[in-house]
């Protein structure tokens, strides 16, 4: 086993750390990789999407209440004439001739009162027409020609009960739901890791006390907590979910404490202690890197839990306030309108479920990757 000079000159090869191995195992897991891609796409859509869709999330189209999802543009061809006639009637006009030419409507009308050019506003006010103008007003001001452009719009996901575009709303809701999930998880992990590590590291009486607190909090009904928080903070969802995070840390604290306790007993920690390494060094170099695995796994499982919780609160009517929305709000609205307007449930549900599905698979994949003997 003697070392030759040749070997010495060789640049030392980088070894494969356990993280490298874990990453490779994760990337070899098809379900996890697919989930990562799905999650990335959904996140990107939620962040960028609302800026790209043609409708603002809070724009109400009174003429398109509960419009079904469709790839074709609205208005549908056979809707134009009745709507046009209805508007004309409202403006006390009678349509004599009507002609649709591409996206331009030309009609002659007879009015029971004096026609004014400003009456074009009746048509403009509708969501179906724009650039309406009244021309060729007859001498007695009873007859005129109305021209208007048909305003074509797409509602790929349909519209909701208020006539708002579901696509934009679904995407903006994703933004809210994901933010809530991440925020609350971050808070929960921070408190949980700190509390658990401290409890495990100090051990003894301190540990006993700290875990007793966790036990008592466990037997407090969780939903009571959340509802109290809503009562406290009103419906400010950011504050609320920081608070939810402050409730969800109990499991994390237990996991980290267990990990810390077992790592503390590991021989490599004893070895470091025997070498005189201080508490800080042991915590930094030995304990924290080795608790990271379970923390990451738990994190990917906590995000879906929080998102579900948010939707549950929304179902109870305690969620995000209108016109802002979240997947939970959309889904509970959709569930109420399931009969007749299934698209209101289907699209947000698909987004929510695929996100949760993806996060779960990533969590499982991470668990397998970081703890391969568990497979």
């Amino acid at each position: 086993m003697s070392v030759t000079s040749d070997q010495l000159k060789e640049a030392p090869k980088m070894g494969r750390s356990l993280w490298d191995d874990a990453r490779d195992r994760l990337l070899a897991n098809k379900a996890a990789v697919t989930s990562l891609i799905v999650l990335a796409v959904i996140t990107l859509l939620s962040v960028v999407g609302p800026m790209l869709t043609p409708h603002p999330y809070d724009q109400v189209y009174r003429d398109y209440v509960k419009a079904p999802a469709s790839l074709e543009a609205y208005p549908k061809q056979d809707e134009i004439q009745p709507t046009f006639a209805a508007i004309a009637k409202r403006a006390r006009m009678k349509v004599d001739s009507y002609q649709l030419d591409g996206d331009k409507v030309t009609a002659t009308i007879t009015s029971s009162r004096k026609v004014d050019e400003r009456y074009a506003r009746y048509f403009d006010r509708s969501d179906l027409f724009e650039n309406a103008s009244i021309s060729g007003i007859s001498a007695d001001k009873k007859n005129a020609t109305v021209t208007a452009d048909v305003q074509y719009m797409h509602f790929f996901f349909g519209t909701d009960a208020n006539g708002r575009d579901m696509l934009t709303r679904t995407l903006i809701a994703g933004r809210v739901s994901l933010t809530i999930g991440l925020l609350a998880t971050f808070v929960a992990i921070s408190i949980g890791v700190f509390f658990g590590a401290a409890s495990g590291y100090f051990g003894g009486k301190v540990d006993l006390m700290m875990m007793r607190i966790v036990d008592i909090l466990y037997s407090l009904p969780f939903i009571f907590f959340v509802i109290m928080l809503v009562v406290f903070f009103g419906r400010n969802f950011v504050l609320m979910f920081i608070a939810v995070g402050a409730v969800e840390w109990l499991d994390m604290a237990r996991i980290v404490r267990g990990q810390t306790l077992s790592i503390k007993r590991q021989e490599y920690v004893q070895a470091a202690e025997a070498m005189g390494v201080e508490g800080g060094g042991i915590l930094r170099r030995h304990i924290i890197p080795n608790t990271l695995g379970p923390v990451v796994i738990y994190m990917t499982l906590l995000v879906p839990k929080v998102i579900l919780l948010e939707s549950f609160l929304s179902f109870l009517g305690l969620g995000v306030q209108e016109p802002m929305t979240s997947w939970g709000v959309l889904i509970s609205e959709g569930a109420r309108n399931l009969q007749g307007s299934a698209w209101m449930l289907v699209f947000p549900a698909i987004f929510l479920t695929s996100t949760l599905f993806a996060l779960n698979f990533i969590g499982d994949g991470l668990r397998d990757a970081l703890d391969p003997k568990d497979r």
Binding site: M1, S2, V3, Q7, L8, E10, A11, P12, K13, M14, G15, R16, S17, L18, W19, R25, A28, Q266, E267, Y268, Q270, A271, A272, E273, A274, M275, G276, V277, E278, G281, R285, H286, P289, N290
Partner: protein, 536 residues
């Protein structure tokens, strides 16, 4: 060489075992031929990873889910490899039985001994539950368990490792098997228990006449009990023959190496004029176990008033079985246990109960090496980081480059390629890891090193290398060792003086030579007999 004949009961014919893993196929067993005649004892010898266990596991249809087998395994001429579970279950547990390496976990913790002993008897249709229960008591008596009628109602957790292994043997004998396969049955046990179990097995074989297949890495055992030997290395049988021939005229180099693996030689004595490095008086360690609310805690005295004196360059060997308090003593001397009392003087400094702060500069000189080379290296640090961690504490003025230089030196000193320092511990074998652990110690230039079973988790051939490395380092640097081990052969090769411990007390103490050649106490004699040492 014996041939397959009409007396052959079990025959393994060109057996191959592959495992499908993430990194591709692993060929664990590569075409092995083994046969066992009725009534004989066959030993399969090899180091860990040689495929000796997997061969027998495959033969019994007990491989993990990712294992693939080829070839044939015949019981009395009929192939059972790859046959239906139903067919296999007629043979295993009735005609061919097995004892495993891990007595602590091989029995179901949730059921009584009686239930587990009776199950195979009833399932193989030879007994009713009532008659099986009667036989269970007889069997326990046969394998030497005291109070069998009471013990039969016990759960495994209420028994010691040795007793559990006896229960396993009883279970193996229950249906009067033709072949008993024992997979390292004594490895996890204490030396004296090992000897008893082996004796029991040899005795039972004489009386009951079944064939025994003995899988082991311990050649001393093989020589004592087996008729024929197969030597396995990396999935192949490299040599086979009658025990006498193999031990007398080994042909294959690997066999020779195995036979030569017991550490030999004695340590040259250190002059009495050397200064005393460590002087400990009446060291006592007590552990309190909580028994419940408001009850007085139960106090367990792990180390009871032990004194010692070690001179520079000396090695004090501390021998004892598990639970004798030897590891606790080692840690107490280093002031790593808060609940230790007694006086400890290191190089003239009284360090009894010294604070962490006061101990810190001394930690550089007083080091500890652990038994488990898998557990004592932080899994997420590179070898370089592990080795130089001590420098961060004790020589913080060093630059990263200087630390790296020192790491290279330290690795060279333990005969490891310094290019390995950017790798992670899990990429190394047990022996290499122990070298890394030694390098981590040596980089600080210690004076006193407590070695807690540093070779116990290693194969014999690797043990020998590590022992030699430790001896060389001691000579070069004038190190003082506290060498803790249950392995008498290693202790003899390492120590000047020896201390034999049992249940926290010193049984016997003296010069190594004297203790090994002329033990006075009964317990020491027992230990030495059990270890079956060859002359040094």
């Amino acid at each position: 060489m014996s041939k397959i004949n009409e007396n052959t009961v079990l025959e393994i014919d060109n057996l191959k075992v592959d495992f499908e893993t993430n990194t591709g196929m692993v060929h664990a067993v590569k075409g092995v031929n083994i046969h066992v005649d009725s009534g004989e004892t066959v030993a399969i010898v090899g180091e860990s990873g040689s495929g000796k266990s997997q061969t027998m596991m495959a033969a019994m249809g007990l491989l993990a889910g990712n294992g693939i087998t080829h070839g044939e395994v015949r019981y009395r001429g009929e192939n059972i490899l790859g046959s239906s579970i139903r067919k296999l279950n007629k043979i295993r547990g009735a005609k061919v039985t097995m004892i495993f390496q891990e007595p602590m976990t091989s029995l179901d913790p949730l059921y009584t001994i009686e239930r587990q002993l009776c199950e195979p008897m009833v399932e193989h249709g030879e007994y009713t539950w009532a008659s099986a229960k009667k036989r269970a008591v007889e069997l326990l008596e046969l394998v030497g368990i005291p109070e069998p009628a009471r013990k039969v109602k016990a759960y495994p957790y209420e028994m010691s490792g040795g007793q559990r292994q006896r229960v396993m043997i009883a279970m193996a004998l229950a249906n009067d098997p033709d072949v008993l396969i024992a997979d390292e049955p004594t490895t996890a046990l204490d030396v004296t228990t090992q000897a008893q179990i082996l004796e029991l097995m040899a005795d039972l074989q004489r009386r009951l006449g079944m064939a025994v297949v003995f899988i082991t890495h311990d050649l001393a055992i093989v020589e004592r009990i087996s008729d024929r030997v197969y030597v396995m290395k990396s999935g192949e049988v490299v040599e086979e023959g009658p025990t006498k021939e193999i031990f007398g005229q080994p042909k294959h180099d690997y066999t020779k190496m195995l036979l030569d693996a017991e550490p030999t030689g004695l340590k040259s004595m250190v002059p009495d004029s050397n200064p005393i490095v460590l002087d400990a008086e009446k060291v006592r360690v007590e552990f309190e176990t909580e028994t419940g609310f408001l009850k007085p805690n139960h106090v367990l005295r792990a180390v009871n008033d032990i004194s010692m004196e070690v001179r520079e360059g000396q090695t004090l060997g501390i021998v004892g079985e598990s639970g004798s308090g030897k590891s606790t003593l080692g840690r107490a001397v280093l002031q790593l246990l808060p609940n230790a009392s007694g006086r400890v003087v290191y190089q003239g400094n009284d360090i009894t109960g010294a604070s962490k702060k006061k101990m810190r500069p001394l930690r550089k000189e007083m080091q500890l090496i652990f038994q488990d080379p898998f557990g004592s290296l932080s899994p997420r640090m590179t070898v370089g980081q592990i080795i130089t961690e001590g420098l961060l504490v004790h020589e913080p003025q060093l630059s990263a480059k200087e630390r790296d230089q020192r790491a290279i030196q330290a690795l060279e000193e333990v005969s490891m390629d310094p290019a390995m320092r950017n790798r992670y511990p899990h990429e190394f074998s047990g022996g290499q890891r122990q070298r890394i652990a030694i390098a981590r110690t040596m980089i600080l230039n210690p004076k006193l090193v407590v070695l807690d079973e540093p070779t116990s988790a290693l194969d014999r051939t690797v043990q020998k290398q590590v022992v030699e490395l430790l001896r060389n380092l001691q000579k070069e640097h004038g190190l003082t060792y506290l060498f803790i081990s249950h392995d008498l052969a290693v202790v003899r090769a390492m120590s000047d003086t020896v201390m034999v411990m049992q249940k926290g007390e010193v049984v016997e103490k003296g010069l190594a030579e004297e203790i090994f050649s002329n033990p006075k106490e009964e317990y020491t004699k027992e230990l030495i007999a059990a270890a079956a040492l060859k002359p040094a």
